[in-house]
């Protein structure tokens, strides 16, 4: 039970219960405003009836030709609201808008190779690893995690414009690229 609504600039005053969690980064205000000033329809919030924020997703549309796609930049749910299908719902919205409004071929995202919860979830939602990106992230600064902590999986899910699933491949985990190739 949650309200799904657009992300608004002033939600930045309310997102502490989500952003104080270590998996979620707080960026400069320009980061959020740049998403909202270009892809407001790919940014949404889940809110409890009390008005408390539960989670949000920020996305964008990018790429050219057959690489034109929707991208999930940040997806996060506050610890106390996890496992309530909130992420699933927000991903569904983002995929729907990427498909129907932007007419992208696929949706993609990056996720730390150590973030097994998220990787499992994305796989459950139909995403698969397209490639592994070396040193995409900085260290979380919480001890050992090593390469897996800093490397990212680039995961993708084809949309209706890619019925032949050309945008994905089966052996993505073995395809390794460096961060400046993406």
């Amino acid at each position: 039970m949650s309200v799904l609504r657009p992300f608004k600039a002033s939600d930045m005053f309310k997102f502490n219960n989500i952003n104080l969690d270590i998996w979620t980064e707080t960026y400069g205000i320009g980061f959020y405003l740049s998403y909202l000033s270009r892809w407001p329809d790919l940014c949404c919030v889940q809110e409890a009836p009390t008005g408390r924020m539960m989670g949000y997703v920020l996305g964008k549309a990018e790429g050219s030709n057959a690489e034109w796609h929707g991208h999930v930049t940040a997806l996060t749910v506050a610890p106390e609201y996890r496992r309530l299908s909130l992420a699933r719902r927000m991903m569904a919205l983002l995929e729907m808008v990427s498909d129907e409004i932007y007419k992208g071929f696929f949706v993609d995202l990056f996720v730390r190779c150590t973030n097994t919860v998220a990787i499992d979830m994305y796989e459950g939602l139909g995403y698969s690893v397209y490639r592994r990106v070396r040193e995409y992230y900085g260290s979380l600064g919480i001890g050992k995690g090593g390469r897996d902590e800093e490397d990212a999986f680039d995961m993708r899910k084809p949309l209706s414009r890619d019925p032949n699933r050309r945008s994905v491949r089966p052996n993505g985990r073995e395809m390794i690229v460096s961060a400046h190739d993406v």
């Binding site: 005053f13 219960n17 205000i29 320009g30 909202l36």
Partner: protein, 939 residues
């Protein structure tokens, strides 16, 4: 030289500017200016380099020169745009672009820039006119929309009179309907069109748009358009239609947005929403009958949803609860046990989720039988847990049980028993999470938070600080198990501040990595009334620096947010523009921003020499702040409060000194300081106007415009004063008495504005080599010691409130010795502040010549008495504090803290030492700082 050659020489200047080498940029400009003294671009670039090296006065001279030339070249305009933004002169920027556009009316890019300059300055009316003109000339659709949204923004602007609003919306409507292209070309245009129709209540027209195929599609994919649609239907009273639409979505599309459930609920009870005056009782009965049928139908729908979704989605179950609650409120519920049945069912299905507590909280106000049943149900939840799900259920049950305690159940004994139970259960539950990676939160954390809440409640009941210490020790232990728990840290921050151990609070605050906009919402945790703990007087600037760091975000806001407003225009994201402007305003006029400003000022005055420079600068800034309407963006909900419903929440319980800081506090301290600075300063309004560099910020404060500033400064708002601590109140009364007493002497002695301006002009000329623009120096250069026609005001004895203040403080200081360290520090730092205020107020009368010319010898001799008395009190307080620092932790000192039995004694001892050291540090620092101040301002 050819232009190409000149271009080649200008390029390095840009490079230097880009890399931040402003010095070398200035050197390069000077070289070029020798050969091309009239070159506008080089002048503009030099002005830019000067602004960026804080050489504002010099930059101003060049800036004005370039502006006088009315530049039109793109490069010059761009450079000047940065200069003017750096100087905060948005109005000049508007003029500059308007002049350029006037000269080249066919230059579309100039038109766009002129429009944006107006946007940045929030000049919506001119923006609208420019956009209209551009639309006529360049025939681009988007200019029409720019003009439309400019009217809407003008209507929304706080400074626009209410009566104008409808007219502006009508104008916007006329323009938007004149568009040759249909509104649904993109969602944001559609959104803009709909919001105007909604505002003007043009429902039929809106309906036409919404019922079209495209309109329906847009609403199905755009949350923001759908939001306006909802609003429109609500305004039109289409509650039932909305309900039917929502029902379809829930049934057919599996939509689980709670807004749809609310729509169905509203529709269910719509037949009862009739004004009771025009309805005869029989029809009311009929309405109730109808409603009861509808409730039945809705129940069927929700029950089906609940059964379909199971524990996967809680919407159906919660909707059933809400339905029953509303049915009861409307007197159409026929099943007295249903609500508790549903609550139990909800708990059974969702009890293993953390949010169960928050979800059910609104339904827990029950009649006594139901209450007993609910409590009995909760008490049956097994307290043996073998799984994380079981543990969560158990925790939820505990939270509800605590939440529903009655006042007779909250005593020191019962709370002690509870806290022991929570701690015990916590230890038992810990192993369940022992395999989780260190990045995960521990499922047992909530038990510690419950215990922490209870210790704090015990502390309130017993006033025994040891309860705070016990809370700290358990919470610190929990952090070793759950390294990422920010909720535990938040509670620790509050606890350590109450214990008088601010450095430990700061450690935890830093560990939370608060950044960017979070500074605005969270810095209150560490900075509210922070001058109580400030060691700035003895040179330790930790907290003062924390103040400055937390204010970086406001700079980013003023530098960046405007750019994104412009970007939203360029990208035609009209739905975002009003929101960005609102966001910018909330940050710009943030209550926390200015509260920190005042807190920082209080620290600054203990650290920097008090001179007329500081006073003048702060005066101007504080006056701007005083004219603002403040927005309170502080986040208090983040504190994990698990207190009984009838008790104050965690935030209220743990406020430093027991008082909230807010509009009242800020306004009162602003009054004190502005009044003192204004008396002490030579700047009057006319002088200030001349010396001001940037635009004057908008006055947004809501006050009676007939009042003079002086009247506003002297106003006493009882509500505001109630939010102060008794010691702050005494300080405010003292400050007022002091200012009232000295006002006539200040007014008499202050040099006339012309003399002040002449002096300022002289200083500027010495500094920059250029005279100050627009100021004529009177030939005989009026000086401070000038003779006056009037006699000086008769010297009066200082008022009782001033004379006795420090003596009273001494007594008060003795009184609080038995209280918390925070109270002791509060009295000590306010004594220091009172003395510094006296220094500010008496600064003008320091030079012997001033005293002599103005015949104020009598006044000055009464200063001497006050000063001697104050210094002796301050010295005594200082040495008491230092003594107390030595005393902390010795065997005669306050007993060592006692931790919990469950914890390792060494762990507890270590923590106890840390707390004592932190207290020692602040006692000693404040004590020595006071000593320093008495030495600095000894005479």
């Amino acid at each position: 030289m050819s232009t190409a050659a000149l271009d080649r020489q200008i390029r390095p200047i840009y490079d230097a500017l880009d890399t931040g080498s402003n010095k070398s940029a200035i050197v390069a400009c000077n070289k070029l200016l020798k050969k091309h003294p009239k070159n506008e671009l080089v002048k503009a670039l030099k002005a830019l380099a000067l602004v960026r090296s804080q050489k504002v006065e010099e930059s101003l001279v060049l800036c004005d020169e370039v502006l006088e030339e009315k530049p039109t070249s793109d490069a010059v305009l761009t450079a000047m745009m940065h200069v003017l933004r750096g100087l905060g002169r948005h109005n000049d920027m508007v003029t500059m672009f308007e002049e350029a556009y006037k000269q080249q009316p066919t230059n579309e890019e100039l038109g766009v820039q002129t429009f944006f300059a107006n946007v940045r300055a929030n000049h919506w009316k001119s923006a609208q006119q420019i956009a209209t003109r551009m639309h006529k000339q360049f025939q681009e659709d988007r200019y029409l929309y720019w003009s439309v949204i400019s009217s809407v923004l003008q209507a929304k602007d706080a400074s626009t009179p209410k009566t104008m609003r409808t007219i502006l919306y009508k104008l916007a409507h006329r323009m938007i309907t004149s568009s040759p292209t249909p509104p649904y070309l993109n969602a944001d245009r559609f959104h803009l069109h709909l919001s105007i129709l909604s505002e003007l209540e043009l429902f039929d027209e809106a309906r036409k748009l919404l019922d079209s195929e495209v309109g329906r599609n847009i609403c199905a994919t755009s949350l923001s358009c759908n939001e306006v649609r909802r609003e429109l239907w609500k305004r039109q009273g289409l509650v039932r239609e909305e309900g039917e639409r929502a029902e379809k979505l829930i049934k057919e599309k599996g939509d689980r947005n709670w807004l749809e459930f609310l729509a169905v609920l509203d529709a269910t009870f719509d037949c009862l929403v009739i004004s009771p005056t025009d309805v005869a009782p029989t029809t009311l009965e009929d309405a109730k009958k109808e409603c009861a049928t509808r409730v039945q139908e809705t129940r069927v729908l929700f029950t089906r949803v609940a059964e379909e979704d199971g524990s996967k989605d809680r919407s159906g179950l919660l909707a059933l609860l809400e339905l029953e609650k509303r049915a009861r409120d409307h007197g159409v519920s026929e099943e007295p046990t249903r609500l508790v049945d549903l609550m139990e069912r909800y708990f059974n299905e969702i009890g293993d989720k953390v949010c169960c507590f928050e979800d059910l909280k609104p339904y827990t106000l029950l009649g006594s039988d139901e209450h007993c049943r609910w409590i009995a149900f909760l008490e049956r939840v097994p307290s043996m847990f073998s799984s994380i799900d079981g543990l969560r259920r158990f925790i939820n049950a505990y939270k509800f049980l605590r939440h529903s305690l009655t006042s007779s159940e909250i005593t020191a004994d019962t709370e002690s028993a509870r806290v022991a139970l929570y701690a015990k259960k916590y230890m038992e539950a810990l192993p369940l999470g022992s395999d989780l990676p260190t990045t995960e939160l521990q499922p047992a954390d909530d038990l510690v938070l419950l215990a922490g809440n209870t210790f704090i409640s015990l502390w309130k009941l017993t006033e025994d600080d040891n309860n705070l210490f016990k809370a700290a020790s358990l919470l610190e232990f929990a952090l070793t198990k759950s390294k990422q728990s920010f909720l535990v840290r938040l509670m620790l921050i509050r606890v350590y501040r109450l214990l008088g151990a601010p450095s430990l609070a700061l450690e935890h605050y830093r560990a939370m990595h608060v950044k960017q906009v979070q500074h605005d919402t969270l810095s209150h945790l560490i900075l509210s009334r922070a001058s109580t703990f400030s060691l700035a007087a003895m040179g330790d600037l930790t907290l003062a620096t924390e103040c400055l760091e937390s204010t970086q975000i406001y700079l980013s806001n003023s530098q960046e947010t405007g750019d994104f407003v412009v970007r939203a225009f360029t990208g035609e994201k009209y739905s975002q523009i009003p929101q960005f402007i609102l966001f910018e305003d909330r940050l710009e006029n943030s209550l926390q921003r200015d509260t920190v400003k005042v807190e920082h000022l209080r620290m600054r005055l203990t650290h920097e020499p008090i001179t007329s420079d500081i006073i003048d600068m702060e005066l101007i800034e504080l006056k701007f702040i005083f004219d603002r309407t403040h927005h309170d963006n502080r986040d208090f909900d983040i504190l994990p409060s698990y207190q009984p419903r009838i008790s104050p929440n965690l935030n209220e319980l743990t406020l430093l000194l027991g008082r909230p800081e807010g509009h009242g506090w800020l306004s009162t301290f602003l009054q004190v300081y502005i009044r003192a600075f204004q008396q002490s300063s030579d700047l009057d309004d006319t002088v200030e106007e001349k010396l001001l560099i940037g635009d004057r910020p908008k006055q947004t404060a809501d006050y009676d415009r007939h009042l003079s500033l002086r009247e506003r400064l002297c106003e006493q708002n009882e509500e505001y004063l109630k939010t102060l601590t008794s010691d702050e109140l005494a300080f405010v009364h003292y400050a007022r008495a002091l200012a009232d007493w000295l006002e006539p002497y200040h007014d008499y002695t202050r040099p006339p504005p012309a003399a002040v301006l002449a002096e300022a002009a002289k200083q500027t000329e010495l500094k920059t080599g250029h005279p100050l623009k627009g100021i004529d120096i009177p030939p005989n250069g009026a000086s401070h010691g000038q003779k006056k026609d009037e006699e000086p005001p008769a010297v009066r004895d200082p008022p009782e409130l001033v004379v006795k203040h420090f003596e009273k403080l001494k007594m008060r200081f003795e009184e609080v010795q038995s209280k918390s360290p925070v109270d002791v520090l509060h009295v000590a730092t306010l004594a220091q502040e009172a003395y510094l205020l006296f220094i500010i107020e008496s600064l003008r009368f320091k030079p012997a010549s001033v005293v002599k010319v103005n015949k104020l010898g009598g006044l000055v001799s009464s200063f001497k008495c006050i000063r001697t008395g104050a210094i002796s009190v301050l010295k005594e307080i200082s040495s008491e504090l230092i003594k107390r620092a030595d005393f902390e932790g010795t065997s005669e000192g306050p007993k060592c803290f006692i931790g919990l039995e469950e914890l390792d004694p060494d762990f507890v001892l270590g923590l106890s030492k840390k707390v004592i050291d932190a207290r020692k540090k602040v006692f000693e620092g404040v004590g020595k700082g006071l000593g320093r101040i008495t030495a600095t301002y000894a005479s």
